[in-house]
Homo-oligomer: 425 residues x 2
Amino acid sequence: MRLSRFGEKMTNDTGICRLMDDLGEALAGPREMLMLGAGNPAHIPEVQKVFRGVMEDILSRPGEYERLISNYDGPEGNKEFLEELATLFRNEFGWNITGKNICLTNGSQLSFFMLFNMFAGDYADGSRRKVLLPLAPEYIGYADSGLTPDFFAAVKPEIHHLDEQTFKYMVDFEALEVTDEIGAICASRPTNPTGNVLTDGEITKLAALARQNGIPLILDNAYGTPFPDIIFSDARPYYDDNTIVCMSMSKIGLPVVRTGIIIAREEIARRVANMNAVLSLAPNGMGPALLGPLVRSGEVLRVSREMVKPFYRRKAFAAAAQLREALRDVDFHIHKPEGALFLWLWFRDLPITSHEFYERLRARGVLVLPGHYFFPGIDEPWRHKQECLRVTYAGPDDIVERGLAIIADEAKKAYAEAKSAVAVK
Amino acid sequence: MRLSRFGEKMTNDTGICRLMDDLGEALAGPREMLMLGAGNPAHIPEVQKVFRGVMEDILSRPGEYERLISNYDGPEGNKEFLEELATLFRNEFGWNITGKNICLTNGSQLSFFMLFNMFAGDYADGSRRKVLLPLAPEYIGYADSGLTPDFFAAVKPEIHHLDEQTFKYMVDFEALEVTDEIGAICASRPTNPTGNVLTDGEITKLAALARQNGIPLILDNAYGTPFPDIIFSDARPYYDDNTIVCMSMSKIGLPVVRTGIIIAREEIARRVANMNAVLSLAPNGMGPALLGPLVRSGEVLRVSREMVKPFYRRKAFAAAAQLREALRDVDFHIHKPEGALFLWLWFRDLPITSHEFYERLRARGVLVLPGHYFFPGIDEPWRHKQECLRVTYAGPDDIVERGLAIIADEAKKAYAEAKSAVAVK
């Protein structure tokens, strides 16, 4: 089968595809596996109840369900919903936007494919531009989304030790250079995989850098505020007319609908809608139908703040506490849990690679994501890339606890092996 | 704002974007407009009732709605649904497929973006390939989907006059050349915009041509069988391991879910799933949830054959009869209505362009699609491109009737103007 360059690039088994297959096989096998790998949001019964109520309401109003299922939205998505969203953002944050600043997409992953390739890649003048990730580690899902090779630039973070077992990545602005080669700056906030939340100061600096260079700042707000609000620090949400804020409906509890939200200046929102028409015809209408009533009433804020955020915060802190206790005798550090669904574990000077660690854990029935996948744009050898794991704490408490106990046990074994190997020598 | 080539190409106001805006403005204006333009499927109450029943069932089974909304599917889509689909196709048509031959996408439009650019565009060896449309006019939605310029090749059809007022396009196999420049052959069957259905003979020849040339045949079955089965001729469905069959959930009554279905040999289905992971993470899960029970029980066949097909057939034939009667005195021809939601009207030697005709109709409150948009790949001047309109008969009967009456009236006026202009000279 002959394939185009695009076909080869986009359809090959990438590293992450192989990893996903591996995880899938493990889950399909006879053995019970503790799933701390994939990022499926938790099933939060009180949130599910809210969304059940929305569907029951739709069904109870004559003709509403019928209209919903039978119509295409326009390429920008349901217009009423866009206005309601804009009102929410105006009221909550004072952002100067209307519905014309918003465009829906068929999921956040597609938002990034569209935005990245709009601003990076080959230009008509023969130049080629990249997406700058100012703070690696960054989201694994970005890695393959570029249409051109060598699509990302990234800089190694500063590592700030907050206490003996806690660290936080910070942007190394000294090292951060926005050359002519850069077409856009992008960061997830809260960050998948680390749970980092860029500080207000970092964001202000990044926004200024982007503006000075005539390129947009893209903020991936999939876990941020005002929904799902899985954010445990005091960071202020950010938007200006040179910033593109991307949101998702998945993490408040609607991964089924695959709906992304892009907030940007009108010209960009309109261009994304045009691209929707070409790529997708239109975004699906189920997302706006299920989230719309909560946006209209403002209940989306209460659900996020009172149900979603506390649910994850409790789990994040419990998981972090368990690991800190279990790993106090080794050189273990945990990224300060500031948001998202993940803990980012750093085993300093771990004598095995993160892939080997992943495999040992898999053999013991625990699935995690090895950290080296999360450094797109950092090609230089850096031992740190091999010393980290991403674990999801979103699953049921007992599964997370058992999984973390095994991770701690295997880590201690690995350190101990190295010590005894040194002793033997 | 600086944009990449991809950004410029995919986000610019294309002709069709401007047309859509124009239609949107007309609909948003104070005047009542008769919508015979866009392709929204009809609201068929008995079908809507079936899909209401499905959602009520989901809600009535403890935990099912909650599981549905809270989980991501894998990149190939809901596996149980894929197996059920494969069983349906095996039972109905004897196709030798399993669930591994099927991949879902976030809508048929995205299916074509992925498939076209997999097989056409720039190759690693420096060559550039095109998609061959063997029978123009073809679907307007294909036109902008190529990542490289000059993306389509097409040949003018043979025009067979079946009676004084009815014609049918046929593939001109004499003119159809599959050079090294061609990466795939694609045809919609039934065809949007003409309502043509390629004959079994044509399909067999196209499949042989594709195989001989080592390229796939892509069949767009969005209106075809076994669902939604909006097909009024006796054509046999076609699949072989060099053919890629694309289906949609929209026309059976679920445009809201934006779900496309790709059936192909396992390698291709797997590659599309890999591309899903990169572009979309996963297809949405609402489509399989709403259509799945009907596929499992086989009711999807009954709904299509007994509700959907007869509904559209009656409307198609009524609309065609009205036009034939009203336009018997001018050089008017209608493409034999064999399927899909459209009538394709040919006003031979119409003295105005199809765009001007569109504008006159718009001024009289009738929205249609001018025919010249439907000839991607045919760049040579050809008067026929300016002589056709696509009208949708899916709307309420009274609206379709009033709209068609105005179309007939305006056509007669245009012909009469030309005559009197000649007489004056």
